[in-house]
Structure formats: C-alpha cells, structure tokens
C-alpha cells in the first residue's frame, strides 16, 4: 500500500487463519471432511463388516474380481465427475459404453490401434457434439445427453444388424491381452483405471483447466465475467466423458473378448450414483475424483455383500440398494447443509 491515510489495521473482522473463531472453522472443516470422506468411512465399515461376516470376502480372488469389474464403471464415473462438477449431467455414457465395446470388437480385426481409436473417436465425437449443443446452443445437458443416449443405441443397433451380430475379439490378439493380462497379479484394466484416476485427479485439482471446471460449476456467470472460457470448458468435459465411456467400453470388450450388445443399460444412473455418493455435488462446483472411485467401490462392495448373503430375493435386492442410496445421500446432504450454514 502506498497510501498513507488508510492505516491498515487488523480489526476484529479481519482475522488471520490462526485467530479464526475455532468452533466455526473446525465444524466447517469437520463436515467438509465428512462430506469428502463419508463415503470412504462407509466403504471401510462395509469392508470390515463383510470380511468379518463372510470368509470368502477378503480373499485375493474376490478382491481381484471386484477390482476388475469395478474398473469399467470407474472409468465412466471419472468422466462423469468432470461433467457433474461443471453442474451438468451425462446420460449418454451407458449407451456410449456399449457402443464403444461393439466398435472396439469390430475394429479389433484391424489391430489393436483401430480397436482402441475407433471407439474413442466415435464416442469422443458424440461427446463433443453433446458439449457443443450444451455450451454453444445452450440446451439443457439432461435433454441433450438423453438424445445422445438414444442416438448411440441407434448406432449400435445399426452396426450390429439390429443387435443380431456380436463381433468377437480374437483371443490371441494384443487387444484381448490388454483386457485379460495381469501385471503383478492385478489385471491390466485395473492398472489403466488407476492411472487414469491419478491423471484425472491431477487435472481437476492442479491444472488451470480444473479450476475452470470448478468455476463453471460454481457460478457460470461469474466464471464468464472472470474470463473463464466457459464454453470451451463445457465442451471439453463432455468430450472427456464421451472418451471415458468409449474407452471403458473398449477395455470391457477386450476383457469379455466380445462386443456384447446388451451392455450399459442403466449404467449412467450407476455412474451418477457413484459420483454423488463420492461427495460431488450435483449442483456443481464441488467434488473430488477420489470420491467417485470410492463411490464405485462402495457400490461394488454392496453388490458383493448382497451376493454373499445369497438368499436375498432379487426384488428385495433392489429395495435394499434403493434404501442404501437414500441413506447415503441423506447423510451427505445433511453434512453438506451443516457446512453451508453461515
């Protein structure tokens, strides 16, 4: 300050971090932690209970199975997290996942590169179109991605001869190995997923783009006035979400060694649930990549536990998962609300 007539004085309101009225910020931090790690706590509790109750839970095989089968949903949820943090939603991921798998299986006859690039290109393109319609034409994400969901299903049906053809992946191809091989006892898809999550977390937390994602979700108008490239950010997140769904589909096809046509129904809702359970606010502006991973694992463990119980009627299973989802979001909302209180 060069000015002399305004002696800067620390008054009561101008508090440094240490002078903060302790209660306020501690409670704030505590519930922030609760929201951030509530799902993690739930996961740990579930795992503990499950491993004490069922001997077959904490076995290497079971864990490895759960890891691999969660990997695909996790990759989809990763893209979804970016979208939801911007305050949007992507309903097309389930269809894109299925389409990605079919295209990968079809493309695998021309080599691994095609098997990977074709689904990425197509799903990424659909994601890009979603983004353009949402950011440039300012259409509601819900409805745009709903249309994309139909579109992707339509494309899937038309490339599989109305669903009657299933393309197979050659078991000996490199692409198939990508889905099946193990590295240090852990499946390759799990490694890929882990790498993507690290990358995603760094991008969201530590890159400028990540800041824009939060800003757009937090207050779009303000972000625009502050000079954030709102449209570009939105287009990017929907493209990323499309790419993630396509990649997950491709990896899944490599794992299943075929482009199964009936996959992905309801996957968008699963991914959204996982992201929300992980502490990301559907209103946007707040969320974590790690939370989404925890959310996916939690869903998986719940399903596994329901299977371990074994005697649960399939109808009751749904009641239980619905009730569980309700309990988690209520807890989360309650924590979030406490934090929002002034």
């Amino acid at each position: 300050m060069t000015d002399t007539d305004s002696p800067v004085r620390a008054t009561d309101t101008a508090r440094t971090a240490e002078e903060e009225p302790l209660g306020a910020s501690r409670a704030e931090r505590l519930s922030a932690l609760g929201q951030q790690h509530g799902a993690l706590v739930a996961l740990i509790v579930m795992v503990l209970v499950a491993s004490l109750t069922f001997d077959s839970f904490l076995t290497g095989d079971n864990l490895e199975n759960m890891a691999v089968s969660s990997a695909f949903l996790a990759v989809v949820a990763l893209g979804m997290t970016f979208v939801i943090v911007t305050g949007g939603i992507d309903l097309s991921v389930g269809s894109l996942f299925a389409l990605g798998g079919v295209l990968a299986a079809w493309g695998s006859r021309y080599g691994t590169l095609v098997a990977l690039l074709l689904p990425l290109a197509v799903c990424g393109l659909i994601g890009l179109v979603n983004g353009l319609l949402i950011a440039r034409a300012r259409l509601a994400p819900f409805i745009v991605t709903l249309a994309a969901m139909l579109l992707a299903r339509g494309i899937l049906l038309s490339v599989t001869d109305e669903g009657s053809t299933t393309y197979l992946v050659d078991e000996k191809s490199f692409f198939a190995h990508l889905g099946q091989d193990k590295l240090l006892g852990i499946g390759v898809p799990v490694w890929i997923t882990a790498a993507l999550f690290v990358l995603g977390a760094v991008v969201l937390r530590r890159s400028r783009f990540g800041q824009y994602v939060y800003a757009v979700g937090g207050n779009e108008d303000a972000a625009a006035l502050m000079g954030a490239p709102v449209a570009r950010t939105k287009i990017t997140v929907y493209t990323v979400s499309g790419l993630c769904a396509g990649l997950a589909g491709a990896l899944n096809a490599a794992w299943l060694v075929s482009g199964v046509t009936i996959l992905g129904n309801g996957m968008e809702l699963e991914a959204i649930s996982a992201v929300v359970i992980g502490g990301t606010l559907l209103t946007g502006g707040f969320g974590f990549i790690s939370g989404s991973l925890v959310g996916v694992l939690l869903l998986k463990v719940i399903q596994n536990v329901i299977n371990q119980i074994g005697s649960l009627d399939s109808a009751y299973q749904q009641v239980v998962s619905g009730a569980f989802l309700a309990v988690v979001v209520v807890a989360q909302t309650w924590l979030g609300r406490r934090r929002r209180a002034p």
Partner: protein
C-alpha cells in the same frame, strides 16, 4: 489533452423492450478517475458490459490504446488490460478465496501444475494490503458480502491493467474499507491507470473522481471535469429535473424524529446462533426506526434473518405485538407481520424469471386469493398502486424482473413487502445500489411508513443514512450488542466512536 486509453463513439445497445444505450460517446484517459453516473436503469452497467465484452453492441466504435477493438468475451478484454469489478459480486462461492483471486492466472510450477503454496501466499498478501485478513483457503461463500467485494477488488487490481472499471464497488463496504478502496484508486491513478468508477454516493464521487459522464435513459447528457458541477447540478442532470425542483426536495429525505411510543411491536430476545450471534436483543416500537450498526461480519444480517425466520436461532425468542413467533420459519414470521428486505437482492430477493407483477404479488398472494384461486383483478390493482407509488421503471408490469436495473429491482422488492402491510419491516441495506432520486424516495417512504406506525429495523453501511434515518441505533460487534445510541447521542461522531471502540477493544 492526450488521447484516451479507451473510448467509444456512437455506441448503442437495445434489449427487447428497452434501449439501454443510445449513441453513447465515452472516453477514459490514463491517470484519470472517471465517474459514470446516472439514475437506476440509465445504462451504466450496460455500458460497462459492452466495454468489457460481456454484451455485443448493436452499433458504435470502440478504440483502445489507439486501435479499434471489439471484445467478444470478458477474457479478451481482460487480456487486453481492462479489468472489471462488476456490480453484483461475481465470484464463485464454492471455491476458495485464493482460487477466486487467481482464477485463470494461477501461478504454475515447471510441470504446468498450479503452485498452491505460492498462490495462497500471494493471495494472502494481496488481501492483506487491502486490510482484509482471511484464511484464503476458506470457501468464498463463508465470507460476508463486503469481504467478497474486497476479494473482487483485489482480483481487479492485482493484474497488470491499463483500465480498471468499478461498478458500484462501495455499495456493500463499510467506511473503513471505503477508505482502503480510495487509497487503492489513488494509487492506480498515480500509476497512470484509467479508472472508471460508478457509484450512487455523491460524496465519494467528489472525493476521488476527476471527470464525470452523466447518463440518462441511455444517453450521455453531460461529460466533463467533475469540479465544474456542483452536487445540485449533478443531481438535476441525472434526474432530468429542474435545479429548483431538486433543491426544493433536498437531498436526504429523512425528517428525523418520529413519535414512537407504546409497547414494542417487535421484541427479539437473546438470539443466539452458533458462531455468529451471542444473545442479541433488539426492541422496535411502532413508529420507530431502529438502526443496526456495526462492522462487516458483526452479525447484522444474521440478526435480521434470525428475526425473519430465515435462520433458525439456537435459542432466543421473537415476539411480535406480544405474541411469540415460531422461530426458523419464514412463513410464520411473515404471517406474524415481519417482512425482510434481504441484503443479497440478486440471489435472495428477486425471482428473476417472473414478471414485475408476479414479484410484487408474490408474498401477498394468499391474501389476494380465494379458496386458493388467484384474484387477477385485485393483483392488478395492488401492482398498479405500487408501480406508481414507488415509480418503478419497467416497460410493463409483465417485464421480467431480472431485466430491470438494480435500483428498480429493489423497489419491486419493497413493493412486495409493502403490499403485505407488515407490522415490522426489516431492511438490510435498503438503499444499496439505488440512485439518489430513488434513494430519497425510499428514505421518504421509510419515514412515512414509520409515521404510519410501522416498526422499522434498518441495517445500513451508509453511516449518514443510519444517523439521519434512525431514532435509535444499536451497535453490534461479533454477534453481540455493544452499544445503543438514543436521542441526541445519535450522531455520526458517536456512532463511529462506538463502532471503533468496539473494534479496537481487542486489537492486537
């Protein structure tokens, strides 16, 4: 005179139903503080938004640093060196203070990743130099409006700008922070930066500005050195009325004392709210205007919200005309006759997508309905009355409130509450962002309402307004009542001292 850094000629911008800018010429020079004034809805914010690439003009040319430009986005304007504090606080509430300050220009390490340690350090420094000491890792929303405004200011001045535009930066600042702001403005001027300054507080204009452009109904009616115009002349130019008429009306509309008497119509007793209020008690008698003073964050807004049921106090009671009101319920408070004009007009006051008419009728709706069915004719009558009485400027009662200027939005909100015929009116910054003409009207209205026997509790950061308008001033500090000024003690001097004493008592 050197050529201006930023100038526009023949700039026009029309909105559906309103010609916001009509062939405006405007020029800002380096090292000059340029006041932009006008009534509510005159087009000031629109001009600024056109200058900074938020809106695209319908016609007109813009020159910046000698070249013709047209900014397509705020980002382009920002990169070109025009930084802006927009009228409504425009930051991202869920992000931390530091992230808000540095959005889009975060310091990065050699891997291209954000260097948070450096960012936090620099953010804390930037804010400290403006007299704000907050934990910069806190979410912005945990700060009061004033502190948020200071963050906007810090953001605007911390870039290397040629032009700094400030649209009503002081509307939610307290005197101490206003002084800091003026310090910053002078520093900018010394550095040869052009400052465009919008405010409805005339004193401020005379204190810091060099030149002035007066807008009326989207047209420039006067431009030149501010020293050539006295206050009266300025006001008459703004309002488009004769000097004599303006002089006759005077500038502040408060008459002062009211004949308050009898039992308090509102008794708030020992309101306590976790971390913010610690046993605040306030009484308001019918016909009395009680001012609520204090620094930013002292809990004034929280007190008002707790009384109005928008916050649920942990303990304490609210009694209206002898009957206790269920706390923590706005419908209950409204039924009991309490009305709150909230501080954050944009987020908590107006319903932007609904029309002026619907907004005015919103709270009183059940009263204008029979068996749950709306009586349109009665609504029309009520709306007409208030649009006239408060001189609300809208193309029609069907216009969306979100399209009105800030001042007119405030009037719509006042109308919403007056239509309720409340017993107690809680006003949180009632004249914030309102032009002198409207301000005088609002003040006169407050006076009249008090005379009609309404109890008024008024929060204002404008000390003058607080002194002249209130019969009694209750001073808050850290969520507790620390002083109460009555009768002759209600003076600017005493108030400032009360606030300062409260603030200085535990100074380090």
């Amino acid at each position: 005179m050197p050529s201006p850094v930023l100038s526009v000629t023949g700039l026009s911008k029309a909105f559906p139903g309103a010609l916001a800018l009509d062939r405006v010429d405007f020029a800002a020079h380096a090292g000059e503080v340029h006041a932009l004034i006008g009534e509510n809805g005159a087009g000031k914010s629109t001009l600024i938004k056109v200058l900074t690439g938020v809106y695209r003009p319908d016609s007109g040319d813009m020159t910046y640093q000698g070249g013709r430009v047209r900014f397509a986005t705020p980002l382009q304007a920002q990169h070109a060196g025009i930084s802006t504090i927009y009228q409504e606080v425009n930051l991202v509430p869920l992000m931390s203070v530091a992230r808000n300050l540095f959005l889009g220009r975060e310091p990065r390490n050699r891997f291209g990743l954000i260097d948070f340690r450096r960012m936090h350090r620099e953010a804390a420094e930037a804010l400290r130099s403006l007299g704000v000491r907050v934990d910069v890792t806190r979410q912005l929303r945990s700060l009061g409006v004033g502190a948020q405004q200071m963050v906007s200011l810090a953001r605007a001045v911390s870039v290397d700008a040629r032009v700094v535009v400030m649209d009503e930066p002081t509307s939610s600042l307290e005197p101490r922070e206003v002084r800091t702001l003026f310090g910053v403005i002078r520093m900018l001027r010394e550095r040869g930066i052009a400052v465009v300054y919008v405010s409805h507080r005339l004193d401020e204009l005379y204190e810091v500005c060099d030149t002035v452009t007066v807008l009326r109904d989207g047209k420039v009616v006067r431009a030149g050195p501010i020293a050539e115009l006295d206050r009266l002349r300025l006001v008459s130019l703004m309002l488009g009325r004769e000097m004599g008429e303006v002089r006759g009306q005077g500038l502040t509309k408060f008459t002062g004392e009211h004949a308050a008497g009898g039992e308090p119509v509102l008794r708030a007793e020992r309101l306590t709210l976790r971390h913010t209020l610690h046993g605040v008690s306030v009484d308001v008698r019918p016909g009395e205007v009680v001012g609520l003073g204090g620094l930013l964050g002292s809990g004034r807004s929280e007190t008002a919200k707790a009384i109005a049921g928008a916050l649920r106090p942990d303990s304490g009671r609210v009694v209206v005309a002898g009957t206790p009101v269920r706390t923590g319920s706005t419908p209950a408070a409204v039924r009991a006759g309490i009305s709150l004009l909230p501080e954050d007009r944009k987020a908590e006051g107006i319903v932007p997508g609904l029309s002026v008419r619907e907004n005015i009728a919103l709270a009183v709706l059940p009263g204008l309905s029979r068996f749950g069915l709306v009586d349109e004719a009665r609504i029309d009558r009520v709306v007409e009355t208030f649009v006239k009485r408060l001189r609300i400027k809208a193309s029609s009662p069907q216009q969306k409130v979100g399209e009105l200027s800030g001042g007119n939005q405030q009037k719509v909100l006042l109308a919403r509450w007056l239509a309720m015929r409340p017993k107690v009116l809680l006003l949180d910054e009632p004249t914030r962002g309102i032009d002198v003409g409207a301000k005088a009207e609002v003040q006169k209205l407050i006076d009249e309402l008090a005379e009609d026997g309404l109890g008024v509790l008024m929060i204002s950061s404008d000390v003058e307004e607080l002194i002249e308008g209130s019969d009694r001033v209750v001073v808050l500090k850290d969520g507790a009542v620390v002083a109460e000024l009555t009768g002759d003690a209600v003076t600017e001097d005493r108030l400032m001292r009360a606030i300062a004493a409260a603030g200085g008592s535990d100074d380090d």
